[in-house]
């Protein structure tokens, strides 16, 4: 049970949402946007989150789009993970988000929520980093389209009052060979010890990771090592590991040493799966 009272707003347009945010904030109240609500509920009920008001983005038509439009795949921020997976619009994204939480929760969790998760995993990020995705952001100055990698710096860096409307991915990314690997402590349902998404583009592997470090990432240095065809597979992996952007996480899901072991296996599997498509 959520132990505090809060106001609930469900705007049906982007401008109304932005206006509502400003109005409430100007009253000195703490206001947050949400869509699926799973984290709002689960963190609020254990006193780790509170708000005076929430703005539900599910009523905004633009946030519910899930379609192919010209050269672009358009994915609304309020689309549920199960819907994305089922649509098969962007198979790698579908695969990656299908591994989040459990089926019942994925009916509620949305891609926007996953990208903004308070937990360190945010596995929906990985395919977007690989696909040079763009994001459409709403704010009081209007809408803007930005590169996802500029907005996502370890976590989503949106300005006050801004929210994510849509994710835009070039259609060609849906056709590259890909692999998505998630390894947990034991159960299929659980946080990743290592989660890896990779694609083969222009004979090169692109790889992004979650669970390994304290935030999801894609690393040009690591990719350079993985694509160094002068080296054996083992050497490539060894090189890549030496170029991790941050220390490997050591927590109750797995020790640092074991995570490294799992990561090596995952990289071997990824390179093996894509071997025909990379040099």
């Amino acid at each position: 049970m959520i132990p505090f009272d809060f106001e609930y707003y469900k705007p049906d347009s982007i401008t109304e949402a932005i206006q509502t945010f400003q109005d409430i904030e100007s009253q000195g109240k703490k206001v947050i946007y949400y869509s699926g609500g799973t984290e709002f509920i689960t963190f609020s009920r254990i006193n780790k989150l509170s708000a005076d008001a929430v703005i539900d983005l599910k009523g905004i038509p633009e946030c519910q789009v899930l379609e192919s439009l010209g050269d672009l795949l358009v994915i609304g921020s309020a689309v549920s993970l199960n819907k994305i997976a089922k649509s098969n619009l962007f198979p790698l994204l579908g695969q990656a988000v299908k591994q989040v939480a459990d089926h019942t929760s994925r009916n509620k969790i949305t891609i926007g929520g996953n990208l903004h998760s308070r937990l360190i995993y945010r596995e929906g990020v990985l395919p977007l980093l690989l696909a040079d995705a763009q994001v459409k952001i709403a704010g009081k100055e209007g809408e803007q389209v930005l590169a996802f990698e500029d907005v996502f710096q370890q976590e989503m860096k949106l300005g006050p009052g801004q929210f994510l409307i849509q994710i835009l991915v070039e259609k060609s990314y849906a056709s590259y060979q890909y692999i998505s690997i998630k390894k947990t402590k034991t159960s299929k349902v659980g946080y990743p010890v290592v989660s890896l998404a990779a694609i083969a583009k222009d004979s090169q592997i692109r790889a992004a990771f979650s669970g390994v470090c304290a935030y999801p990432f894609r690393s040009a240095q690591m990719e350079a090592a993985l694509n160094d065809s002068s080296l054996s597979i083992e050497k490539r992996i060894e090189q890549a590991l030496s170029r991790l952007p941050a220390p490997i996480v050591n927590d109750i899901q797995a020790s640092r040493e074991y995570r490294e072991f799992v990561l090596i296996n995952a990289l071997e599997d990824a390179l093996d799966a894509l071997k025909g498509a990379i040099s």
Binding site: I46, K185, T186, V189, I252, Q253, S255
Partner: protein, 781 residues
């Protein structure tokens, strides 16, 4: 033993509660609400061990709707089922993370919850006792400074003042010291696992009100309504007759609802607001760590054999992590000692079983009551001994199986009537798991298939006066109502009792009405619904009630039929003449007495009553353990086949086998399902579950987000269940208890299969891939 008529016993009859459960219309305790119901929420400790300097509730009182804030000062006394060592609300200090410190009562649940978060407790952290090994050290900080002064509620509990030993149970059988020297092969190993939880689907919930008449009405989710009465009488000075406990279908218990924690808190809450009804229900996080959980253990076992591989000496040291309070862990400490050898004949036994206080959440019963835990250690030792002796693990077990004429560790004599047939179980399990194909098979580059076996026994250490009662009331249509306080917690006990009635009265199942609700003021006394004892105890009580009813039916019928009682028989809804079955009377015509054609009536309603109490049980001698603490042993063998990946150390459970000798099986379908459920629980405990503590004793995974359990879809690919039915002379139709048994051998069998697969000794739980990886890495060093 009773003769079977074939009406109901031994038939796979559908469970009485199946339809309502499948339809989702069952109501559990927390599903009920009432106008004016007040709600209580707990303020819980944020430290594992700390002095309480002060409690400031100023801010909490500002929340609208708050009616009372109660601290330990309201009831500064200790309670407990075995040793009274636990204040319902912490006084002076807290001893575990999540311990109840105060109760807030408010008009609405969210108000109480919000206010609870605003109660400020000033703590002074104390040094934390974070493992049984730390607790056992001389000079360790004390969790309880005055344990020697606590009141003993039952005998056989021995706290040692000035230490963290909450109880110490000894077994001294034969001459271990001398025999050990003569052993030709010896093995000594240590095993361990952390505390974990039951994770019943239904979290604990209770409602209490105190009527102006003085009656205390308790609605609660419990396995032990009469123990609640006892506790409320013993510690709160309420007359027994004034305490009324109601319960309904329990949504899973697994031992966790056998003890009493919530009800006294809700009673204090109700008392603080003038006796109004108060509801106190646990959210999942509270149910995991504030409520009592499952013990942790560190066990060291030494086994020695003669040159033929016969075990002649065994030493067993158990350090049981009972957490902050002894609760049922003190009884588990005793149970672990009295069956310490497993179903093997060990003539010389030295066992020290210690119930250790630590600053962890406190533990209570868990399905199997010491046996899944001790069996893991014993069965791992048996496999390591077999390896050392180069004997097949099954052969070693067969050579050492305990037999009629041998004695148990407490020197109870084993007879053909009080134990099942272990050898038959072993042989059948061997066939089912296809043991002779090979224990370890490489099936591809990086896949190994391996098998593990585990044999087990268990006696039910009930109170020596554990008992049950039953009342059968006949309706005017000839059907029967049963009043019996056996609790339905998913095990199917109500269906089993109905089958026993149907069999005895030779009546259709649909003529037997069973209510799931239990009301302590209408139902006869029942010890508890624990210890796999209900089919046995309540089954015998129900049989006695049937016999009483039959006698009354015959008496009334003899008047109606103008003949002697001795010439009559009951069956098929009639009472009839044995020599001429066509001549008789319908039960419906005599159920409420017989009425003569002129209107005169005699005898009245048929109300059968019956009871059963344990026979000849004794406590155990303090120095040697000598005694007869349980009535019989059910035995069994379990086996697991895994497919293990040599590259990433993950594994899949392919087959899980249980072969149990539980005497006559009253309902083969529910018994099979009970074994499957038990295996699932045991495998979840063995493969996934454990509370993880930081250096301050804070639980790192107090949520199902991070506390791992086996999920649907991760169960074994195939369950194989079979029964050997060596009838128990005392049991109803020859039945023994079977409730807990499916769990007992799982950890041992899984660890044995994975040890065989990975070719390392896996002696710790849970068996996560990282543990196998780490053990293998250390082994290769």
């Amino acid at each position: 033993m009773q003769d079977r008529t074939g009406t109901a016993v031994g038939k796979p009859i559908q469970r009485i509660d199946a339809v309502e459960k499948a339809a989702g219309t069952v109501r559990y305790i927390d599903d009920y609400t009432l106008p004016g119901l007040a709600h209580a929420k707990l303020v819980k400790s944020s430290y594992a061990h700390a002095k309480i300097n002060s409690i400031d509730s100023t801010e909490a009182w500002k929340v609208p709707g708050v009616r009372a804030i109660i601290t330990g000062k309201m009831f500064p006394y200790h309670i407990g089922p075995i040793l009274a060592d636990r204040p319902p609300l912490a006084i002076e200090k807290v001893r575990y993370y999540g311990e109840p410190v105060a109760i807030v009562v408010a008009d609405h649940e969210h108000q109480a919850k919000r206010a609870a978060a605003l109660v400020k407790v000033d703590y002074e952290p104390l040094q934390v006792v974070n493992s049984v090994r730390d607790a056992f050290q001389t000079g360790a900080p004390l969790v309880h400074e005055n344990s020697g002064q606590y009141m003993k509620i039952i005998s056989n509990v021995y706290p040692v003042q000035g230490t963290n030993i909450g109880s110490h149970i000894k077994i001294r059988k034969g001459d271990f010291i001398k025999t050990w020297e003569a052993c030709t092969t010896k093995v000594k190993e240590t095993y361990s696992f952390n505390l974990s939880d039951h994770v019943a689907l239904e979290t604990r919930s209770t409602r209490v009100e105190i009527k102006s008449s003085g009656k205390v009405i308790i609605h609660t989710t419990t396995q032990s309504p009469f123990t609640i009465k006892k506790v409320m009488n013993q510690f709160f000075n309420i007359e027994l007759g004034n305490i009324i406990v109601h319960t309904t279908i329990v949504g899973g218990a697994f031992g966790g609802k056998g003890t009493v924690q919530l009800e006294p808190l809700a009673y204090l809450a109700s008392k603080a607001i003038g006796g109004k009804m108060v509801k106190l229900n646990y959210e999942r996080e509270e149910d995991l760590i504030t409520a009592p959980c499952h013990i942790g253990v560190e066990a060291t076992i030494s086994l020695g054999t003669n040159k033929d591989g016969k075990i002649i000496a065994g030493q067993y040291t158990f350090l049981i992590d009972s957490g902050a309070y002894t609760d049922q862990a003190a009884g588990i400490t005793r149970a672990m000692a009295l069956d310490c050898t497993g179903p093997y004949n060990v003539p010389n036994v030295w066992c020290d079983s210690y119930c250790m206080y630590t600053n962890h959440p406190y533990a209570t019963s868990f399905r199997g009551y010491a046996h899944p835990e001790l069996t893991f250690a014993v069965e791992r030792t048996m496999d390591q001994l077999a390896k050392k002796l180069s004997i097949d693990p099954i052969e070693l077990r067969k050579m050492n199986t305990i037999q009629p004429g041998d004695t148990s560790p407490t020197q109870s004599v084993i007879t053909a009537n009080n134990i099942g047939d272990t050898l038959k179980c072993l042989e059948r399990a061997r066939e089912l798991i296809q043991w002779d194909e090979g224990q370890r098979l490489e099936i591809s580059n990086n896949k190994i298939r391996a098998k593990g076996i585990s044999t087990f026994w268990k006696t039910s250490t009930t109170a020596t006066n554990a008992q049950s009662g039953a009342i059968l009331k006949f309706e005017a249509d000839g059907s029967v109502n049963l009043n019996c306080a056996a609790i339905e917690l998913g095990q199917g006990t109500k269906t089993i009792l109905a089958q026993i009635i149907a069999e005895r009265l030779k009546l259709e199942m649909n003529k037997i009405h069973i209510t799931m609700e239990v009301n302590s003021s209408y139902d006869p006394h029942q010890w508890r619904t624990v210890a796999s004892s209900t089919t046995f105890l309540a089954g015998r009580a129900v049989l006695a009630a049937c016999d009483d009813a039959i006698s009354q039916l015959k008496r009334t019928a003899s008047i109606a039929l103008k003949c002697s009682k001795e010439d009559l028989e009951v069956g098929g809804g009639r009472v009839y003449l044995k020599p001429n079955p066509d001549y008789g009377v319908q039960i419906k015509d005599i159920a409420l007495g017989y009425q003569y054609p002129n209107g005169h009536a005699v005898e009245g309603q048929v109300v059968g009553h019956g009871k059963y109490i344990q026979r000849h049980l004794t406590p155990m001698d303090k120095e040697t353990g000598f005694g007869k603490p349980g009535p019989w042993w059910s035995v069994g063998t379990q086996a697991i086949e895994v497919e293990w990946d040599t590259r990433d150390y993950t594994y899949k459970i392919l087959k899980a086998v249980t072969v149990l000798d539980g005497g006559t099986i009253i309902n083969p379908a529910t018994a099979t399902q009970q074994m499957r459920g038990g295996m699932y629980l045991g495998l979840s405990f063995a493969s996934s579950e454990a509370f993880l503590f930081d250096e301050g004793g804070i639980v790192q995974n107090p949520q199902l987000r991070t506390y791992q359990i086996i999920r649907f879809g991760e169960q074994p690919v195939e369950y194989l269940v079979d029964f050997i039915e060596s009838p128990a002379a005392d049991g109803p139709y020859g039945a023994r208890g079977i409730g807990e048994y499916g769990v007992i051998g799982m950890a041992g069998a899984l660890a044995n299969s994975l040890s065989a697969a990975a070719q390392v000794e896996l002696n710790h739980l849970p068996l996560i891939p990282e543990l196998i990886w780490k053990t293998k890495k250390e082994h290769l060093k």
